[in-house]
């Protein structure tokens, strides 16, 4: 039996493509602003069987977010559908069914009711809808992962805008233009966490 999960850790199961970049940054900023720790499969170094390491990472996180908004096949003739996200969601559902108190998963989509068509076995699962917009990711995270004294969405948006604007500097620093690269991911997290300290903690609700 693995050790108990980190109660503030969230596994992000997302597509690693250029079009998803702004939403990816919004997920990182939003989670960091909520004092939650994002984790990504790209954190995992190579070596042993990758799937085993991903499963360990899922087990170590109390929550997971599975963004199934990229169900389209691109127009490129060699394009194939990407099955990694549904595969990792399936692993997560199995783990959660075996140990319900250890894990909670959420499904995100960009379009309402599409999940029922793309993954009908998930009927009955209420997906969070982000409409493909970073601001909806931020407000959605704030609603889905509620906790005492959450930051206002305006604050989350300010940090998002700044972190997004710093991406080229982070690329230069790390010698890559891949936003999902491990070093870039860690820089984005570090920046989001540091900028979060700029704001005073929200006052408790009366």
């Amino acid at each position: 039996m693995p050790p108990p999960p980190d109660r503030n850790a969230v596994f992000l199961n997302i597509p690693y493509d250029e079009e998803f970049r702004s939403l990816y940054i919004a997920y990182i900023v939003g989670l960091c602003q909520l004092d939650l720790v994002p984790h990504l499969a790209s954190e995992i170094p190579g070596g042993d069987r990758r799937l085993n390491k991903i499963f360990k990472l899922i087990q170590s996180c109390r929550y997971s977010i599975h963004d199934l908004s990229r169900v389209e096949v691109s127009v490129a003739p060699t394009a194939v559908p990407r099955f990694n996200m549904p595969l990792e969601l399936g692993m997560t559902i199995t783990w959660q069914n075996l140990h319900p108190s250890r894990h909670t998963w959420f499904v995100w989509e960009s379009e309402p009711y599409r999940l029922q068509r793309s993954t009908s076995d998930l009927n009955g699962t209420d997906a969070n809808i982000h409409n493909g917009k970073p601001e909806d990711v931020l407000s959605g995270l704030r609603s889905a992962l509620g906790r005492d004294r959450p930051p206002p969405v305006t604050q989350m948006l300010k940090v998002y805008g700044l972190v997004d604007s710093a991406l080229n500097s982070i690329f230069l620093r790390n010698g890559t233009s891949n936003p999902y690269d491990r070093s870039v991911f860690l820089d984005l997290c570090s920046l989001s966490l540091s900028l979060g300290t700029f704001f005073p903690p929200a006052k408790p609700a009366v």
């Binding site: 929550y63 509620g146 805008g161 997290c189």
Partner: protein, 65 residues
């Protein structure tokens, strides 16, 4: 699965979060100039409210012009 949860776990400290991500002190040091620069921008922007990402984009376009 629920659409939302209420998290009751104690909030981690900044140090605990950085440790969970294995963010090294060297990485933090290297990023500090960028953090300072962005905090200065944030300080300036605190003068006016931000309402949406579109507003941010307009602001970027205006400052680039």
């Amino acid at each position: 699965m629920p659409k939302s949860v209420y998290i009751t776990a104690p909030r981690p400290t900044l140090e605990e979060m950085e440790k969970s991500l294995h963010i090294s002190k060297a990485r933090k040091r290297a990023l500090q100039p960028l953090v300072d620069e962005l905090k200065a921008k944030l300080s300036h922007r605190e003068q006016e409210p931000v309402t949406s990402v579109e507003t941010e984009k307009r602001r970027k376009r205006a400052s680039a012009a």
